[in-house]
């Protein structure tokens, strides 16, 4: 997973006073994102302890990924929406509607899976465009437009399903959510391919980091000291290794994890490195200033909602595949989980601030808590109440930090 490592370079040639140690500066810049990682680890440790080690058992880790995948997919899209200063309340209903459509196509009309998936994603894009039109061009507040869509698509879901569930899906479709990468090496107790992918990932990561460091040196920027750099690499490699080992002792890498990882990397890249990413942040930071800087604010906002529609559709497909049914109740309250994930992960309710990795961490905090509390046998009622408090605490902590900084 890519951390939001904001560069903390200052030019070496400049005598700057008071010069902060790169590490201290880095911690200061990233206190929010690091503190959420720390919080996530603490929550994991807590439940690991409370559940007598069940939480991090291979089976449960795999379950964690499968259970939360559709929320994480939504959270990625929601983060972009929130960064632009909007909100999307309709994603749960849209996911349900798309799931229903997929069920009708595949189960009732025997349309091939690939075709269904493409049609579903296009439908998501179309729904996103519908909302984006009202929000970006007609300038109706997103809260109202997506509230309307939430009702609209929930209703339409029930209409097309006639209030009933559709099942079962073909095996190939179920595999999206419940399948694993086949082990081409046929390991006995361990899933060898998973371990090999883990090693390859470590190597790739080290290579990328070294290249980045050399690049920075070439430009004459300050870089973190060698010892710390190596420490960072070792730390990440250990995490990757442990994670892939844990997965390898069960069934290996779930298909859904591949999809998730691809999305996280792609969207982090778009948000951090590309022009359109910059424009998204600029719109959330100050729409008027962005517009007067030549940012096509309406078009970018529109596209952010189109993207949200596609991800909502994907989430609906993943959920339908996992449940192996299209139901009228699918996706209920997903929007709130996704929004909560973004805010726990450091998004600002006023727009302009937030990272994709933050949304993932926020989503995992919620996921681990759900999972841990379920393992403890806590009822859904208490789970809900506790999650509410966690959301409030996370945002309060954020605001406290900001006030302290200024």
């Amino acid at each position: 997973m890519q951390m939001p490592t904001q560069k903390t370079m200052t030019r070496r040639s400049e005598p700057i006073e008071p010069k902060m140690q790169p590490f201290a500066q880095m911690m200061k810049n990233n206190i929010r994102s690091y503190s959420m990682v720390v919080a996530l680890l603490l929550i994991m440790l807590l439940f690991q302890f409370l559940t007598d080690g069940i939480l991090l058992r291979p089976l449960n880790v795999t379950n964690l990924i499968l259970q939360n995948s559709y929320i994480l997919v939504l959270a990625i899209g929601m983060m972009l929406v929130i960064i632009t200063g909007h909100i999307d309340l309709s994603v749960g209903s849209v996911a349900a509607f798309v799931g229903a459509l997929a069920g009708i196509l595949m189960v009732q009309h025997h349309v091939p899976m690939t075709v269904t998936v493409i049609i579903s994603l296009l439908l998501g894009a179309f729904i996103g465009a519908w909302q984006g039109f009202w929000i970006a061009y007609v300038r109706i507040p997103a809260f109202i437009v997506t509230l309307a869509s939430m009702l609209l698509f929930r209703g339409l879901t029930m209409v097309v399903l006639k209030g009933q569930s559709i099942a079962p899906f073909p095996k190939s479709f179920q595999n999206i959510s419940s399948g694993f990468l086949p082990d081409v090496f046929h390991g006995k107790n361990l899933h060898l391919l998973t371990l090999i992918i883990g090693v390859l990932l470590s190597v790739l990561f080290i290579w990328l980091e070294i290249r980045k460091r050399n690049n920075a040196k070439k430009y004459g920027f300050d870089v973190i000291p060698v010892t710390m750099f190596i420490g960072k690499l070792v730390g990440i490699v250990i995490v990757i290794t442990i994670f892939s080992y844990v997965l390898a002792t069960y069934e290996g890498i779930p298909n859904i994890l591949i999809i998730l990882a691809t999305l996280i990397i792609a969207y982090s890249f778009v948000a951090n490195k590309t022009i359109v990413g910059r424009h998204i942040y600029a719109i959330g930071g100050n729409e008027k200033a962005a517009q007067l800087s030549g940012v096509k604010t309406k078009k970018v906002t529109f596209l952010v909602f189109v993207n949200m529609g596609v991800l909502a559709a994907l989430s609906g497909l993943i959920f339908a595949a996992r449940l192996n049914a299209a139901t009228p109740k699918a996706g209920n309250l997903f929007e709130l989980d996704a929004i909560a994930a973004c805010f726990i992960g450091g998004a600002s309710a006023y727009g302009g601030i937030g990272t994709v990795s933050g949304a993932i961490i926020g989503g995992l905090v919620m996921g681990v808590m759900n999972n841990g509390m379920s393992l403890l046998g806590l009822g859904i009622d208490w789970q809900q109440a506790i999650k509410g408090l966690v959301l409030l605490a996370a945002v309060a902590f954020d605001i406290y930090n900001k006030n302290k900084a200024s």
Binding site: K7, T8, M9, T10, R11, E14, I16, E17, N29, N215, A216, K218, Y219, F221, K273, T274, I275, V276, G277, R278, H279, Y281, A282, G285, N286, K288, A289, A290, Q291, L292, S293, G294, V295, K296, G352, I353
Partner: protein, 510 residues
Amino acid sequence: MSQFILEMRGITKEFPGVRALENVNLQVREGEIHALCGENGAGKSTLMKVLSGVYPYGTYSGDILFKGEVCKFKDIKQSEELGIVIIHQELALIPYLSIAENIFLGNEQAKRGVINWNETIIKTKDLLEKVGLNESPHTLVGNLGVGKQQLVEIAKALSKEVKLLILDEPTAALNEDDSENLLRLLLEFKKQGMTAIIISHKLSEISKVADSITILRDGKTIETLDMKKDHATEDRIIKGMVGRDLTNRYPKREPHIGEVIFEVRNWNVYHPLHNERKVIDDVNFYIRKGEIVGIAGLMGAGRTELAMSIFGKSYGKKIGGQIFKNGYEIDVSDVSKAIENGIAYVTEDRKGNGLILMDDIRKNITLSRLNKVAKRFVVDENQEIIESEKYRERLKIKTPSVFQKTEKLSGGNQQKVVLSKWIFAQPDILILDEPTRGIDVGAKYEIYTIINQLAQDGKGILIISSELPEILGMCDRIYAMCEGRITGELKQDEATQENLMKLMTKTDRG
């Protein structure tokens, strides 16, 4: 010697990076009209904000004595209770409420939380009569002109049983008739025993109404003059305000003026909400290479509206007219096209429209032309840092690094970031809207130097400014604007404050 109603002793107020007031003293006698003079940024408004409790006790040092008693105001409410009422430069009325509701806002005529509307209306009628405003108390404030709104503000002040009325640039936005009316009103109130402090740039007004005058310069008290005893002529006041050679305030420049680079023909713009209201009326002007052209006009003359409508049609509706660059008509129908065609607009509202305050200097500088530091659609951050560092050094932005968030910078440095951003966009024509508003004298000089350098590089520059000395000191050619029309054009050597002012207030058609 009559008694002082107000004494401010040794007031010092600091903002991050700027000392706005340094050991300022002000003494106002009971029943007089006391004028407070000084250039923009001299600290007049800051001093009045200290007095009225906008900056609460503890954020400044020094003493305030009102009627001989030391005051430690925590907020405006406390100073208002004593009868000190300030009317700010920017009117603080709520357009969707009626005159009566505005006047008694926060001071509702109520019993146990229930408003007595009859009493409110009767009192409002009374107050409106006093200020000579012939409007129904039920009229929405948004439907009134600026002059009448000013009168509503004064009526509001009167409703609070004001002892000391402070007016911050009360006539800046008013036409001559309304200004005249307001000043007459002030003299009337004086007869009834009210004390007033008036802040104004318009020296002719001051010599008309003021009894004494305190001059501030660079946050310090320079002198207090008695208008009669000291024979305080306008020249005498200017000398105190400026204090140094006027020519020193603007860096020297040898203009190298070339061909016409930019021309606007028959430009017409309508108000975005009121379809029939013409905001810009058949404006024609041109800028030559290496030339600095000024647009002078009072508030509401349509200067910003003109600039923004040219810059990617960012203001107004039904925009008509043609724009030429180097003799060819160009398309400026949206901002990115305007930027591509080499136009840059530096906004008057740098916090609201210019900067993304939560972002760092680097991201702000590159935003308008990200593709300059990008390969295809991927931003090269290293390249971006190098580029923005260049501007930090060249424009002397005082900050430890380009990773500093722009909200933490002083006004002058923020303005330099905005300028950097637009120089980075490599324009041929720069429209600078109030380029030195709200920044201190030293930073002003630096910004003037940058502007001169840009002209020297062969760019065409258009400066919009409310400060006539700035226009006169910087520009090779000056257009005067009034009510959406260009009312005159003067070369630098023929322009004076007086003849410009005459053009700026030329309201009659034809």
